[in-house]
Symmetry: C2
Subunit: 420 residues, 2 copies
C-alpha cells in the first residue's frame, strides 16, 4: 500500500525513544530501518499508525517481524479485536501516548508459530488468544507468554479475538472492583458495545442482579434480551433509573467520563461503587486529540473525598492494559482469565460479534466504532480479503464523518459490514 | 448531678424535631418532659449530651426509659464502647449533627430485659451486644432487634461492648471495600486505636499480609506484636512506607482526612484502594466544631476522577452507622457480625481493651481518646463506681486540654485508668 500524496515523510520516520511499547512492537517497527533484516525475520502485513490524527494515519504495510525474544511467543494471528481505546490511541487522545509509528491493537487469537527462549508452557501449533500492549493488528505478533492463554475447547479464533479485553474488563469491573453480589443493581453505559455485552452476560451469572443500560435507540431491539432496563443514550438516564429504582444502583460502570461521573456518583446507593473505565466522551471529532483531552480533564467535576465518606460511596478508575506489565497485575489477569474460560466452556458466556473486517478495511471498521454503530465486538482478520469497493467509491472511503466539520470533510460511506 | 452554674437552661430544652435519632433516644429524652411517665416506664442513669461543645456538655442524669416499641429490645446495659466518633458528636463536628439533648453511644453489651412486640428471636435474660444510632451510654437502652446480636459463648460483657463497632468497621473496610487477599499490604493510621487493633487482628487471618501502621511512639512498645511496620505518627510516613515497599501498598485506611487522603492515594499500588473512614484530624480543640469542620472540608484536596482512571486506583468513604437504618445495610452488618463472632469463637480475634470507666467518669474517658492515650477500646460500665477523686481535684477534672487555648483553660488531670 503506497503512502498517500501529501503525507509528510516524517510520519514514517522511526523514533528511537520507544518507551512504553512492548518489545514486539519496537522490534517490528525498528526492523524496517535495518538494511537487510536479521536471521529468522519474516515479512508480514500489519496495520500501522503513522502518526496521531484522522483515519488517514492508518496504513496497511509489510513489516519485518523478528524472532520472539526470551519469554515471548510468536503468533500467527487469525483474528484481532478492536476496542474504543484504539480510537483514542489513533487520536493520541491519552495522557502518555505511545510514539508513532506503531502497530495498534490490544488483543488477538491465532496459532503459536515459534517460542522464544524459556517458554515451556506452549507448543508450536497451539490455538491461543492474547492481550498485549499494542501490536495485535498484524499477520504475525510477538507477545510475552504471561499474556497468552490457550483457547478453551470449542472456541473459534473469532471468539478468541473478541474475548480477552471485553470479558477481562467486565469481570474485573464487576467482581474485583464492584464486588457484585446477589440482588445488586448495575448501570452500564454503551450497553451494546463489547464490554457492555460482556457485562450483561456476567451479570446474568449472579442471581437477582438488575441491569440498567444506556444505548442508542437503534440498538435497543437487538440487545433487549440482554439488558433488563434499556435507556436511550440521549435520555436523562438519572431520572429514568430513579423512576424504576428510587434508591439508585449499587454499581455504575462509566466509560463516558466528563459530566457522567458526577451523575453516576449521585445514582449510587450507600456502599455503591462508580467505576470510570473509559473516556469515550473525549472522542468527538477525528483529530482534536490533545486539546479535547485537556478540555475534558478540566471539565470533569472533581470529587471531595469527604463527600464519599459522608455518602458511604466508592469512586474507582480502571484500565486493563497497565496491569499486563506488572507481575501482580499479570497474575490477576491470568486468574481472571481462568475463571472466564471456565464460564465459556460451560456455555455461560460467549462474546457477541458485531462484524469482521479485513486489515485493509481498518478505517471502515474504526469508523463504525466511532459512530457507535456496533453491537458487540468489531474484529479484523488478516486472512480476510476486503470486500471490493463500488466503482463510485474513492480509495479513501472512511475519512472523516467528523460532525464538527474539521480537517476531513469527505462524506462517510455507509457499507454493510460482513457479519461473521 | 446538678447542672453547672452559667449553663443556659435552653441546653436542656427538648426540641420536637428529633429527625435522625433512633426511636429509643427520642422516647427516652421526650419522656422526661412528660409529667407522670407512662406505664412500664423506668428510671435509669444515662450520660446526656446537653449541647455541642466542651466536655462540660456531658452530664449523668436519671432519665425515664419507656417500654420497648414494636421490633425493639430493651437492654440492661452492662458495658458500652466509646469511639472517636463520640468526640465528633460532642463537638457537633459532623455534617448533620443530631439535635441535643441526646444520649450518646453507638454500642453496648448487656442482658435482654424486655421484648417489644414482634420480637421472637431473643429471650429475656439472654446476653447480647448491639450497635445503635445513639443511646448506648445508659443503664437501660432500647435497640431495634436487627442490630442486636447474641454474645457468642465465652464472650464477656466487656468484650461484647468493645466488639461491634471496631470489628464491623475493620472487617467491612478490609474485606468488603478493600478486597483484602493473600500477599497484600495495608497501611492503617491510629494503629493503636480500637479499629486499628481490630484491623491488625483481621489482617493476621490472611496469609502473607504486610501491615504498616502509624501510632504515637509511646504506644509502639505495646502494639509492636500486632503491627509489622510501625511508624511514628509525626514521621513522614509516605517516605517510611516507600523505603520498605517502593511500590506502595494495596489498601490505605485513613481515619485522619485532610492532607492525608492525597498522601494515601499517592501511596497506592495500581488496583489499590484508599478508604476514608473517619476525620479525626478535624478534632483539634474542644469546641471549634462547625468552623473546624467547614475548614477541613475545604482543605481536603479534591480528586479528579480521571486521575483514578489513569492510575487504576479506588477512593472510598465508609461510615458504619448509616448502614444500620437501611434494610440492605443492616443485612450486611448481620452477615458480617456472623463471620466475626465465628472468628471470635475460634479464638482468632479478641478486642483489645484499653480501660473501663464509670458513667460518671465519661469526661476523663473521652479526654483519654482525645489525647490519643488509649491502646484499644475505652469502655463505660453503668454498674461501676467512679474512682474517688483526690481532695485537690475539682468536680470538673476533665475539661479542656485544648492545645489551642480556647474556651476551656483548666489543666487536664492525668489519672491512671482502671484497667479491666
Amino acid at each position: 500500500m503506497a503512502s498517500e500524496p501529501g503525507e509528510p515523510e516524517t510520519a514514517l520516520m522511526i523514533e528511537n525513544n520507544t518507551k512504553g511499547l512492548g518489545p514486539n512492537v519496537v522490534a517490528a517497527v525498528e526492523s524496517e530501518q535495518a538494511s537487510g533484516g536479521g536471521a529468522g525475520e519474516r515479512e508480514a502485513r500489519a496495520v500501522v499508525l503513522t502518526g496521531f490524527g484522522a483515519l488517514s494515519k492508518l496504513r496497511v504495510m509489510k513489516r519485518s517481524v523478528p524472532a520472539p525474544r526470551r519469554g515471548e511467543v510468536l503468533l500467527c494471528v487469525k483474528a484481532c479485536g478492536m476496542n474504543f481505546l484504539d480510537l483514542m490511541v489513533r487520536q493520541g487522545n491519552m495522557e502518555n501516548p505511545p510514539r508513532t509509528p506503531i502497530i495498534p491493537g490490544f488483543e488477538c487469537s491465532g496459532l503459536v508459530e515459534m517460542l522464544g527462549e524459556g517458554v515451556e508452557n506452549f507448543q508450536v501449533g497451539a490455538g491461543v488468544m492474547a492481550v498485549m500492549c499494542y501490536g495485535a493488528w498484524a499477520e504475525l505478533a510477538c507477545v510475552p507468554v504471561e499474556n497468552v492463554f490457550p483457547l478453551p475447547p470449542g472456541m473459534s479464533f473469532t471468539d478468541g479475538a473478541a474475548f480477552p479485553v471485553s470479558f477481562l474488563t467486565a469481570y474485573l469491573l464487576l467482581f474485583d472492583i464492584g464486588r457484585l453480589r446477589e440482588g445488586m443493581s448495575v448501570l452500564v453505559h454503551s450497553a451494546g458495545g463489547g464490554v457492555g455485552q460482556a457485562v450483561a452476560q456476567l451479570c446474568a451469572t449472579v442471581p437477582g442482579v438488575t441491569l440498567f443500560g444506556t444505548a442508542s435507540s437503534s440498538k435497543h431491539e437487538t440487545i433487549r434480551g440482554s439488558v433488563l432496563h434499556l435507556i436511550d443514550r440521549n435520555a436523562d438516564y438519572v431520572t429514568e433509573v430513579k423512576k424504576i429504582s428510587p434508591e439508585g444502583v449499587d454499581i455504575v460502570l462509566d466509560c463516558l467520563c466528563g459530566e457522567h461521573t458526577a451523575k453516576g456518583l449521585s445514582l449510587l446507593k450507600p456502599m455503591g461503587t462508580c467505576i470510570l473505565y473509559g473516556s469515550s466522551n473525549m472522542v468527538t471529532g477525528e483529530t482534536k486529540s490533545f486539546f479535547s483531552f485537556a478540555k475534558s480533564w478540566w471539565q470533569v467535576e472533581k470529587v471531595n473525598p469527604l463527600r464519599l465518606y459522608e455518602e458511604n460511596k466508592c469512586l474507582a478508575g480502571f484500565q486493563l492494559l497497565p496491569l499486563l506489565s506488572r507481575p501482580d497485575g499479570a497474575r490477576r489477569v491470568r486468574d481472571t482469565m481462568a475463571r472466564l474460560t471456565h464460564l465459556y466452556s460451560k456455555g455461560v458466556i460467549r462474546p457477541r460479534i458485531d462484524s469482521v473486517w479485513a486489515l485493509e478495511e481498518v478505517k471502515e471498521a474504526m469508523q463504525r466504532i466511532h459512530d457507535r454503530g456496533n453491537v458487540g465486538k468489531i474484529l479484523l482478520e488478516p486472512e480476510k480479503a476486503p470486500i471490493p469497493l463500488m466503482a463510485s467509491d474513492s480509495t479513501d472511503t472512511s475519512e472523516a464523518c467528523d460532525e464538527e466539520g474539521e480537517e476531513d470533510e469527505s462524506e462517510c460511506k455507509e457499507r454493510e459490514p460482513f457479519i461473521h
